[in-house]
């Protein structure tokens, strides 16, 4: 056995606690449920799923089987006491599961148990061995590892003798445990206890409670793990959904803040904005918030980002809660963004829905599913504030946390636009969101001089150098242009005021440019004159030097000739050295020869 603790000597008598001994789990494959239960239902034990009418007990149980068969290759038996086989097939088909196919592959076996009290007459001692035999036969015929008993409580209506029934149920659960199958038992919720007939008394390993509540006319289903013997589990209520891809439970917070990060930077599609963000754009996998009052160009910035990503060959998923895809494509065409070809190439996908279409959770589930199927690199939600209106505050925050967690976990860069009301305290509605965001850009209106101009600045950008300056944000048919706003004595100038200031400055610049040019020319001229002088002087000098050299050479030659001549003369005369006409220099050697 592996010890994971520090190698500290233990006093004798104290047993080692090994974490390896934790309960074996049976993964359900249901989105989110395995996270809450940290791995699934207790393997080889019964789990009770209880809840009121219409909260999804049967679907949860059915998905447990179907996922088990499809994902984990564990065959399963569904024994239903209420619905017949064709009914079950139809119900499960609504989740997109092919039950007949799985039945054909011997992965799932449906078994309807029909109980009709009026047909049953009780005459003395009996037990439910028939049920055991049937279940056993069903389990053995496909080698099932998972069993679902859908509403055992129907037995209470059908079997007259409750004492026998209870004894038999106890025996049934014991038997299922011995059989080693992971069982899900569904039961109706009771008034004062978890189940109407107190089934929780028999199933003591794991109890899951489902609940269907209506809040502000929007119904949300909730799931809670009431009890899970021998295992850690999330104790909170988690909203869950039944969509057309099955159930998904949405843990408010995911397992923790431990998603990986990327150092890669991605361009925003607006070069000037990239420059404001240290020249490289946003981090991949970061979450970006774009807030602004109406008409400040949030969608345009978002679409630019989307287009840039799609042009790089990345997949972009655009959730729009205000405009239809066709409308976005048309509107963006007017500023020079060609989105239609990107949509055609499958790099950009729009998903438009009215926020009021369904509850927040449903929206979230739809988004999760879209993300899971499209596998985008970039997700854009425009605007997130529309969604926030469809839920309560805490719900919305929870939802956005979950969404961001999910996106970060998948290394998907996300951009959210957020609409702030004019005159509204800017940061208020985003206060909750901002802590979740890695970068926050703010778009704002500036009114003055009878015009309204857009300005734009980076409020925060985690982990990167970014400009602190306010820039003016221009939208033209060529797209977005970000220019420096003029900040002078009279404050920030934008729009025509900035343009006027610009032209004033341009004139001044031009004037000084002219002056500078003239000075430059003057300098150039002086330099040329100087150089001319230098070359004249150099020429003079060279002539003189040449002359001097010539004279020097001449003198040298004369001297040599003279001396040669004299030597020759001396030789011819054979005169004694003493009478050499030149001074002592010549005399000395002569004298020496004389002494020899």
């Amino acid at each position: 056995m592996k010890k994971t603790g520090p190698d500290r000597p233990r006093p004798p008598g104290i047993p080692t606690i090994s974490p390896a001994k934790s309960l074996p789990k049976c993964p359900t494959g249901i989105q989110g449920l395995d996270e809450i239960t940290s791995g699934g239902l207790p393997r080889g034990r019964p789990t009770l799923v209880c809840g009121g009418a219409g909260c999804g007990k049967t679907l949860l149980a059915a998905e447990f089987l179907v996922r088990g068969a499809m994902t984990f290759r564990e065959p399963g038996v569904l024994m239903s006491f209420e619905e017949t086989e064709p009914e079950l097939r139809a119900n499960v088909a609504s989740l997109g599961f092919d039950l007949p196919g799985l039945e054909k592959a011997k992965m799932i076996l449906l078994e309807h148990v029909h109980i009709e009290r009026s047909e049953i007459h009780e005459t003395g001692e009996y037990d439910l061995e028939g049920l055991f035999v049937r279940l056993n036969y069903a389990i053995d015929s496909i080698g099932a590892k998972r069993v679902v008993l859908d509403t055992l409580e129907a037995l209470f209506a059908g079997i007259p003798n409750e004492a026998i029934l209870r004894a038999e149920l106890r025996r049934l659960f014991r038997w299922l445990k011995d059989k080693g199958v992971t069982t899900v038992i569904t039961a109706e919720r009771g008034r004062e206890q978890l189940t109407r007939h107190g089934l929780e008394e028999y199933v003591s390993d794991c109890v899951i409670l489902l609940d269907h509540r209506i809040n502000d006319q929007i119904a949300t289903r909730h799931l809670r793990v009431v009890k899970y013997r021998g295992a850690m589990h999330g104790t909170n209520e988690f909203p869950f959904l039944i969509g057309d891809g099955g159930l998904s439970v949405l843990p408010i917070t995911s397992l923790g803040l431990n998603h990986g990060v990327s150092n890669e930077r991605i361009a925003t599609g607006i070069p000037r904005l990239d420059a404001m963000l240290g020249g490289k754009g946003f981090f991949r996998g970061s979450s970006i918030l774009l807030t602004g009052t109406p008409g400040t160009g949030k969608t345009i910035v978002a679409t630019n980002f989307a287009q840039a990503a799609a042009r790089r060959g990345e997949r972009v998923l655009f959730f729009s809660f205000e405009e239809s895809p066709a409308q976005i494509i048309r509107n963006m065409h007017s500023i020079g963004l060609r989105l239609a070809p990107l949509v055609k190439r499958g790099l950009l996908r729009f998903h438009s829905a009215r926020p009021s279409l369904c509850g927040l959770e449903m929206h979230l589930a739809t988004m999760f599913r879209e993300i899971a199927t499209f596998k985008p690199d970039v997700v854009i939600i425009d605007p997130i504030t529309s969604l926030m209106d469809s839920g309560t505050n805490s719900e919305t925050k929870g939802m956005i946390t979950r969404l961001i967690d999910y996106l970060k976990g998948c290394q998907i860069t996300s951009l959210f636009t957020s609409l702030t009301q004019a005159g509204h305290v800017m940061q208020q509605s985003e206060a909750a969101m901002s802590s979740l965001m890695d970068a926050w850009l703010l778009l704002q209106d500036f009114e003055g001089n009878g015009e309204r101009n857009r300005v734009f600045y980076v409020l925060k950008a985690r982990g990167m150098a970014h400009s602190n300056q306010i820039r003016e944000f221009l939208i033209s048919e060529r797209g977005i242009d970000i220019v420096d706003a003029y900040i002078g004595a009279s404050g920030v100038l934008t729009g025509s005021a900035r343009a006027a200031q610009d032209s004033l400055e341009k004139a001044a610049r031009l004037a000084s440019q002219l002056e500078a040019d003239q000075l430059k020319r003057e300098v150039e001229r002086k330099r040329a004159a100087l150089e001319r002088q230098i070359s004249a002087l150099r020429a003079d000098y060279e002539t003189e030097a040449r002359e001097l050299r010539r004279i020097a050479e001449q003198v040298g030659t004369q001297t040599r000739l003279l001396s040669d001549e004299r030597t020759e003369l001396g030789r011819l005369r054979q005169a004694d050295a003493a009478v050499a006409p030149r001074g002592q220099k010549l005399n000395r050697p002569k004298r020496r020869t004389g002494t020899l």
């Binding site: 049953i120 005459t123 003395g124 028939g130 035999v133 056993n136």
Partner: protein, 116 residues
């Protein structure tokens, strides 16, 4: 017999076992004391009330578990009256003879058939 029927209109609801054959099935799971008791009780009731016109088929689900589905058997032992229609199910070891007779729709019949 026809004459009797026309004379006594009170017997219109009561089945007339003498005219029909009774098909009974007893589901058991192994040779348990309960199964044996049930079979013995059934035999006795049949001999008493349905002499000569009944047949009993004993199905042991331990031997052939696949048969449990057909008659929707949960409890053991279960007695199923296949014929005459409608199908009746009686669960238990059949020790309560009165209830068995009611369950098999035999209770009013023997009382009336003894009258003449």
């Amino acid at each position: 017999m026809k004459k009797t029927k026309s004379v006594k209109p009170a017997s219109r609801r009561a089945p007339e076992p003498a005219e029909k054959s009774w098909q009974l099935r007893l589901y058991v799971a192994g040779q348990t004391p309960k199964s044996l008791t049930a079979f013995a009780n059934l035999k006795q009731i049949c001999e008493e009330h349905l002499q000569g016109i009944y047949s009993i088929e004993v199905i042991d689900l331990v031997v052939s578990p696949q048969l449990s589905k057909g008659d929707q058997i949960l409890a053991i032992p279960t007695l199923v009256r296949r014929l005459p229609e409608p199908v009746r199910k009686i669960i238990g070891d059949l020790s309560d003879t009165e209830r068995v007779l009611v369950g098999l729709d035999l209770r009013p019949a023997p009382l009336r058939s003894r009258q003449p």
